[in-house]
């Protein structure tokens, strides 16, 4: 790979209770690269994304972010975990917004990791002019500028997702992760959301990793596709090299 690695995952295993979700996974994602992760339900796509963002600590293995180790051998190491977490924006599948707050309040919360306690509290109550302008610009970019002062629960599912994207961007991240961003939208809108994520990442030079159910969308839109199955990397290839046979193998049902 030509770019410097942004995410470096080495021999990472992760279990929830007794169930092994990730089994000694190793992979690298270059800075500014755009990657889709595909695979059947339970393959470990969401867990891998959560490991990348520092949301869960793996049982063993090392995760490096931009050369800095932040998760190591089941312990949290390296410099401040909080400051590393704030470098990675995450768009959750269920959006994880506060439904009874306004869109602007949800978006400013994206920058809490870089702000002191009183500053963040004040931004929640009355964001300063500069924050308001930036939030509005981001909401315009994702297409819901007019919803800035609406409550989140008055928005449609697709609009809420765009608010969640704006929150992740307000964080000024270096990487953007999205977990099943098209799980609950129709095919036409799915393409639009993915194109939005791709073009925003390109504009801002962000590393983008997205998990997807639908392999055809991944192959159409992303230059690199990682197939996950039963907690292991099944294939990791440029999308033009992924064959029908490989996909069949990836999604094969157990006898």
């Amino acid at each position: 790979m030509s770019q410097a690695a942004y995410f470096q995952v080495e021999q990472v295993s992760f279990s929830i209770a007794e169930t092994k979700i990730l089994k000694e996974i190793s992979l690298e994602i270059g800075a500014g690269e755009q990657v889709a992760m595909i695979g059947p339900s339970g393959a470990g796509k969401t867990s891998l994304l959560r490991v990348l963002c520092g949301g869960v600590t793996p049982n063993s293995g090392t995760v490096k972010l931009d050369g800095e180790t932040y998760l190591k051998n089941g312990a949290q190491g390296g410099p401040s975990l909080r400051s590393l977490r704030s470098k990675v924006g995450f768009v959750h599948q269920d959006h994880a917004l506060v439904p009874n707050l306004r869109v602007v309040q949800n978006v400013v919360a994206g920058k809490f990791g870089q702000r002191g306690f009183w500053n963040s509290l004040r931004s929640l109550i009355q964001p300063v002019q500069r924050d308001q302008e930036e939030v509005f610009a981001l909401l315009e970019r994702v297409g819901i500028g007019e919803k800035m002062f609406h409550r989140v629960d008055s928005l449609s599912g697709g609009q809420q997702q765009r608010a969640a994207i704006a929150r992740a961007l307000f964080q000024h991240p270096e990487a953007l992760l999205a977990d099943e961003p098209v799980a609950s939208v129709d095919p036409a809108r799915a393409q639009a959301v993915l194109n939005l994520l791709i073009s925003i990442s390109r504009e801002r030079g962000l590393t983008l990793a997205v998990s997807l159910h639908d392999p055809s969308l991944a192959l159409d839109l992303f230059p690199r596709v990682i197939g996950l199955r039963e907690g292991r990397v099944h294939f990791d290839l440029p999308s033009c090299q992924v064959s029908e046979k490989m996909l069949g193998e990836l999604y094969r049902l157990e006898e």
């Binding site: 590393l84 704030s86 994880a96 506060v98 870089q114 929640l124």
Partner: protein, 262 residues
């Protein structure tokens, strides 16, 4: 199996209770003189007093409605002061009694707030009355202590039961736990907590009125006086004043709830 055991135990307890108290349903029907009193009292409900019922009223006494209005105002002020103090004490205690803090803090806090709740506000009032004499601070603190305990218990449960997704998402984006608490968890649980606080305000109004029986200048003071003088129409005026306060509160909280939820 276990469920039926619980149900049988409850039924058994009820039966033992009836038997040991020697309850007879016939006893709750008024008899003789009692019947007359009950009838006088209930019929007074339709004609609440607008003026003193006493034959002799000293010259220069304020009008009856003015006195009741004053009592009404003090009842609301006592309740408001007590509840705001209870909220100031109860909110931090709720956090310390919730799953957000380690068990070593949570368990002692829960014991402490159970202690606050186990003594009724009227008992606290009696204690403070004996200790400090008839003083408004005593009445307010007497209500605030058990109310803070109840708010802390219920608020901590609401915080524990509120959806954690947005809270976790902010932590995942680098926020500290306290930032994520104010940015996500508190707003998520907020509407339920506000609704419960309003209900407790209603309870505080009743408690504050009843404290008048001990001599504090709330509606209960006049209610007791009128009752002892058998001025049932005056009693009903006091009861309607309390009802009025509760209805105002109900309207207000209904409006606020619609704003918070819709």
């Amino acid at each position: 199996m276990r469920r039926s055991l619980v149900l049988i135990s409850i039924g058994l307890l009820g039966f033992i209770g009836y038997w040991s108290l020697g309850l007879e349903l016939g006893q709750i029907l008024p008899r003789g003189q009692g019947f007359q009193i009950a009838r006088d009292f209930l019929s007074a409900a339709f004609t609440p007093a607008l003026d003193y019922e006493a034959e002799f009223v000293p010259a220069g006494s304020p009008s009856f409605l003015w006195v009741i209005g004053n009592g009404f105002q003090r009842t609301v002020i006592f309740a408001g002061a007590a509840l705001s103090l209870a909220l100031i004490l109860g909110l931090p205690l709720a956090v310390l009694a919730s799953g957000l803090v380690p068990t070593s803090i949570r368990i002692p806090t829960r014991l402490f707030i159970a202690g606050m709740r186990s003594v009724h506000e009227l008992l606290w009032a009696v204690v403070f009355l004996a200790a400090f004499g008839l003083n408004s601070a005593g009445a307010i603190i007497a209500i605030a202590i058990p109310y803070a305990g109840t708010l802390a218990k219920v608020f901590s449960e609401m915080l524990d039961e509120a959806p954690q997704r947005s809270y976790q998402a902010l932590i995942g984006a680098g926020a500290s736990r306290s930032q994520a608490f104010f940015g996500a968890l508190l707003p998520t649980a907020g509407p339920d907590m506000a609704a419960y606080a309003f209900y407790r305000f209603e309870c505080a109004l009743r408690s504050s009125a009843v404290l008048g029986f001990f001599g504090y200048p709330t509606l209960g003071y006049y209610l007791r006086q009128s009752f002892e003088n058998l001025h049932y129409r005056e009693v009903w005026t006091c009861l309607y004043a309390i009802l009025f306060a509760v209805l105002i509160l109900e309207t207000w909280s209904g409006k606020l709830r619609r704003r918070l939820v819709a």
